[in-house]
Symmetry: C2
Subunit: 179 residues, 2 copies
DNA sequence: TAATGCATGTAACTCGTTACATGATTCT
DNA sequence: AGAATCATGTAACGAGTTACATGCATTA
């Protein structure tokens, strides 16, 4: 089976929901996957085009009143198979997560102590803000989508973000103390 | 001041150590930064070339007996300034860390429970292996480089890796239970 | 009247990897 | 004899972002 990149699978997955157009897909990602996946129109539209060309989806152009035309994409059986197959495959290997703060801290000997402390304090602050964002989204989902079939899985991904961010914050605190 | 990408700054930083050639830089990254930064020769050599062209480094070709020629790079004052300036700048924004496992779990409703459990168990196992790798490196540094000026900072970056990985493992366990 | 939302799309660019080419020496 | 180490480099490709172009309807 031919390989596609992960963004293609993400789009394939989103097409199983009610999102059908490039515009809607972008919105969905920004609202629901934004904490662990992002994507630009410059990638969405060419991908959708390719999906159709390769028979993974069909298109229907919808003419709307008072709104621009909109192209709706629907997964074909082949498209569903490709998605299913991808879902079944475990990760081949853990990616190396580049971290700019660690890179700077790594060269900490060439900085003053104050600079390193400032770097860490700033990082910590940004992580705390991120944590609050997670909490906000989590609350939103819990309140509005309690009965939604996907809500459970959405909350799992948010829990991941919270736990990992929490650990990073704790590291900042410990490192600031030790510096 | 002109902007460069983070890999350029990484190379600039490494040139402040005793690593002077592309080959040595690659080795250094593979040995010491590998847990949060990686880079290929296809990026190192063109970057070094550019560093020289833009006056951030000078080159000296070293003819060795019984070994191939080797090009040694040395930071200029301008190169040191560029590095220093970068080190002083805090992160502009936290990057979104793409996570393939979360992406698959997000579409968990389209999978069987067994598939999701398998995905998580496999991820957990890989994280545990990674954790052990961190411990191994940490031990190596503690044993051999106790008096090295950089050792402290190297250990900080490893601590980060350990804490974040630990949190991810705990999330796997919790999610497996809840599924 | 200006901004925002809806909606699609492309071209240029950056970043990065992989695969390839070259070639001597040393170790197994 | 073959593999590993030392050493440099390029070409092709893939992934992804940003900026731009277009244009109508609604809201402030």
């Amino acid at each position: 089976m031919q390989k596609y990149n992960d963004s293609t699978y993400a789009i394939l997955g989103i097409l199983t929901t009610n999102c059908r157009s490039g515009y809607e897909i972008k919105q969905f990602i920004d609202n629901s996957l934004n904490h662990f996946w992002k994507i630009s129109y410059g990638q969405i539209y060419p991908t959708l085009k390719r999906l159709e060309e390769e028979g993974l989806a069909t298109v229907q152009t919808l003419v709307q009143e008072g709104k621009p035309e909109r192209k709706e994409y629907f997964l074909t059986e082949k498209g569903k198979d490709v998605l299913k197959n991808w879902l079944e495959q475990p990760l081949t290997q853990l990616p190396v997560e580049r971290n700019e703060v660690l890179l700077k801290l790594f060269f900490g000997r060439h900085q003053t102590k104050e600079q390193s402390l400032y770097l860490l304090a700033d990082y910590k602050q940004k992580l705390e803000k991120l944590y609050q964002t997670y909490e906000g989204i989590e609350e939103g989902i819990s309140r509005h989508n309690t009965n939604h079939q996907d809500a459970k899985y959405w909350l799992f991904t948010l829990d991941y973000g919270k736990r990992v961010t929490e650990a990073a914050i704790a590291w900042c605190e410990a490192t600031i103390k030790e510096l």
